[in-house]
């Protein structure tokens, strides 16, 4: 059984059809990239998978380990193992980073029938992870993402992924707004999280990130459908020729 199975998924935003029958299958241990021009539906796909309000599914199904994902609340999906790395992580003034992480980790542990961490256990656990993923103590203490640089926000997303240990990580434009050093750090974090027990869906506009996180498959999303799939070399081809070939076909 595939880890993620998307069958003929259709979705609208404000009554406008954005996803027009997406088919995608992802096995455990795999990393797939979804590329496409602006407005092709990449972010919509990530939000539909994670359950954001305002995205109405009008057809098709999404199965995570055989379970119907679309029936679940966002928090239930997260507990089942869906992780969305946000393109623009939101700042939450007043909520300390550690409080947020502890609440999230314990919610997921409770759901999975594991014992909750007490304060001491959690500090030990999160400090080790933070060190591994280049997140400073100061960043942990501050309010969630508040006043963080672009690079800090993305590193913080990767840390959240590391502590929540998802089955499926959806990384939405993780490379956007990063300089090359920040990109390398984030890519190293993503690579460290690759493993046989999870799958990743990397959504990106540019090929650049894929130099550092090499995918098993590349899909091209165009006007709400996957129009082409291929091995990692497809990304290089797109980089050279752009997305105009699809526009011509569509026209």
């Amino acid at each position: 059984m595939a880890l993620l199975e998307i069958n003929d998924l259709c979705a609208t935003v404000d009554g406008k059809e954005i996803l027009k029958g997406i088919n995608l299958s992802l096995d455990s241990g795999q990393v797939h990239a979804i590329m496409g021009p602006n407005g092709s539906g990449k972010s919509t796909l990530s939000y539909v998978l994670s359950g954001r309000a305002g995205y109405e599914v009008t057809g098709g199904e999404v199965l995570l380990d055989g379970k119907n994902l679309l029936e679940m609340d966002p928090e239930e999906r997260a507990c089942e193992g869906v992780f969305l790395g946000f393109q623009y992580p939101v700042e939450i003034p007043g909520v300390p980073g550690t409080t947020f992480l502890k609440t999230a980790v314990n919610a997921v542990r409770r759901y999975r029938g594991e014992s909750e961490f007490d304060a001491m256990q959690f500090v030990k656990f999160v400090r080790a992870k933070a060190k591994e993923f280049n997140v400073s103590d100061d960043m942990l203490k501050r309010a969630v993402n508040s006043g963080f640089s672009g690079g800090e926000k993305k590193r913080n997303e990767i840390l959240q992924m590391a502590v929540l240990e998802p089955r499926l990580a959806i990384l939405d434009e993780t490379d956007s707004g990063l300089d090359i050093d920040a990109l390398k750090l984030v890519a190293a974090g993503v690579n460290a999280m690759r493993g046989p027990e999870r799958a990743m869906l990397m959504i990106t506009h540019y090929q650049r990130l894929l130099d550092y996180v090499v995918p098993d498959m590349v899909h091209v999303l165009f006007e709400g459908q996957i129009v082409k799939s291929g091995p990692k070399e497809l990304a290089l081809e797109l980089e050279k020729e752009g997305y105009c070939q699809f526009f011509e076909t569509a026209a």
Binding site: S50, G51, R52, A53, D73, P74, E75, R77, A78, C79, F83, L84, F86, P89, V90, I92, P93, G94, V95, T99, F100, T103, A104, A107, V108, Y111, A143, Q160, L164
Partner: protein, 443 residues
């Protein structure tokens, strides 16, 4: 009995029976003060929307409750201080239905440089210069409840801090409203004078048992030159409690006033602060938060009077309102002619957590000087959907995510309290309020 001691208005029906037993009855200046208060209350009436200053807070319904005066009622017996007050290390002064109760108070542990006594002792001549303070009922404003307080002048506590003293131990005034059988009304008048160059921290906790009861308190605060008063108040009255409080604050030159008020209790609440910055370089800081649910009505009314040059005032209130709760914020900054280089800012931010919740904000600036920096603002909104989704996408359920965001919003107001332990005392009250909120959602 002197003339004019009988008026037919709620809360004053039996005044002629109470007047003769009020402390110092027969002393000319006290009689005159009370008579003026009663006459003024008689002229203004129980606050209702026709009185501009009470446009959003109507006491007409409260007025239908037949309150008896705590002065003639039996003092309730109480074994211990009920739960709900701030948990802080401090010298306690405990008032039950407005009257100082020595058996619960730490009168023998007052720090050097601080005196405290009940109002009865004070008016009997033990506290100097009291007449002037008590007579200075803020004039020119429609303050019927303050006038009523003056009419019933009897209970309360008078605190003096010697000049030049920096007092480390905080003082904690705990007001307990108790009514078992009959609704009780009490009108304590507290006086707090901080001498020149002195510094002190005073807490207030307002809690209660039973109800309905009315706590219509007034506090006269004088802060001397170069003195500092940190004044922090928790209003956590019983569910059926009515809480009306008027603080009149006078700041001398270079005095600093730091007020923080947290409201979580009471059925109908009006908290009014009138600050007069009478000496140049004075610095007035009014901060606070209010959290309402059910049918609570919480009114914060402030008036900051810049009467001298080069003074600063800051005002930030944050409110979270759930169910059918209603919040009111009226804030006025007056900059008088000659109060040049005034720097005054004011902000009210309200979070509406349900369709039925409501906030009325009325910020006002009145400026007669030409070289000033003043601003005011008010916002009202719901929880941020993006923040909620972010938290939920990490596995945190919706109720818990909302609580985290509401707590963050309210606790943000606590930043002005420097000391972590004391911040924690207020934070735990906010947590309890949130816990009560989630509890009810499960029921």
């Amino acid at each position: 009995m002197p003339d004019g001691m009988k008026i037919d208005l709620p809360l004053a029906e039996n005044y002629e029976n109470v007047a003769p037993v009020l402390v110092g009855a027969g002393v000319d200046w006290l009689d005159a003060l009370r008579r003026d208060g009663l006459a003024r209350y008689g002229a203004l009436g129980l606050p209702n929307p026709r009185v501009e200053a009470w446009k959003y807070t109507n006491l007409t319904r409260m007025g239908r409750t037949k309150f008896i005066s705590a002065v003639t009622a039996a003092q309730p017996s109480l074994d211990q201080i009920p739960a709900g007050a701030l948990d802080i290390d401090a010298v306690k002064l405990v008032l039950v239905n407005g009257r100082l109760r020595p058996e619960f108070s730490d009168l023998d542990q007052l720090p050097d440089g601080v005196t405290a006594m009940n109002l009865a002792e004070a008016v009997a001549g033990k506290s100097p210069d009291l007449q002037g303070v008590l007579r200075a009922v803020v004039s020119g404003h429609d303050m019927p409840m303050l006038a009523l307080n003056a009419a019933y002048l009897n209970d309360g506590v008078v605190i003096d801090v010697e000049k030049g003293r920096a007092i480390d131990t905080p003082i904690h005034l705990i007001s307990i409203g108790v009514s078992d059988e009959e609704p009780v009304a009490f009108h304590p008048r507290n006086v707090l004078r901080v001498g020149d160059g002195a510094a002190v921290t005073v807490y207030e906790s307002h809690i209660g048992l039973g109800g309905p009861y009315l706590s219509n308190g007034a506090m006269d605060i004088r802060i001397g030159e170069d003195a500092l008063l940190r004044h922090r108040k928790l209003q956590n009255e019983a569910e059926n409690g009515y809480h009306v409080a008027t603080a009149s604050v006078v700041l001398e030159a270079r005095a600093r006033y730091e007020n923080y008020t947290l409201h979580v209790g009471g059925l109908l609440v009006r908290n009014e602060i009138h600050a007069v910055l009478s000496g140049s370089g004075a610095d007035c800081n009014l901060y606070g938060a209010y959290a309402g649910r059910g049918n609570q009505h919480i009114d914060t009314t402030t008036f900051v009077d810049h009467a001298a040059a080069e003074c600063t005032s800051r005002e930030v209130y944050k409110g979270a309102l759930d169910d059918n709760a209603r919040g009111v914020f009226q804030g006025k900054i007056l900059v008088r002619r000659g109060a040049q280089k005034t720097d005054g800012h004011q902000l009210n931010k309200a979070l509406l957590l349900s369709e039925g919740a409501e906030i009325d904000s009325k910020p006002e600036l009145e400026i007669y000087a030409d070289d000033v920096k003043c601003s005011h603002g008010a916002t009202a909104g719901e929880l941020d959907e993006e923040q909620l989704f972010y938290l939920r996408a990490r596995g945190i359920n919706e109720a818990e995510a909302r609580d985290l965001l509401v707590a963050a919003f309210l606790e943000d107001s606590l930043d002005v309290i420097g000391d972590e332990d004391r911040r924690e005392a207020f934070r735990s009250i906010i947590s309890n309020w949130l816990a009560g909120r989630s509890q009810r959602q499960e029921d």
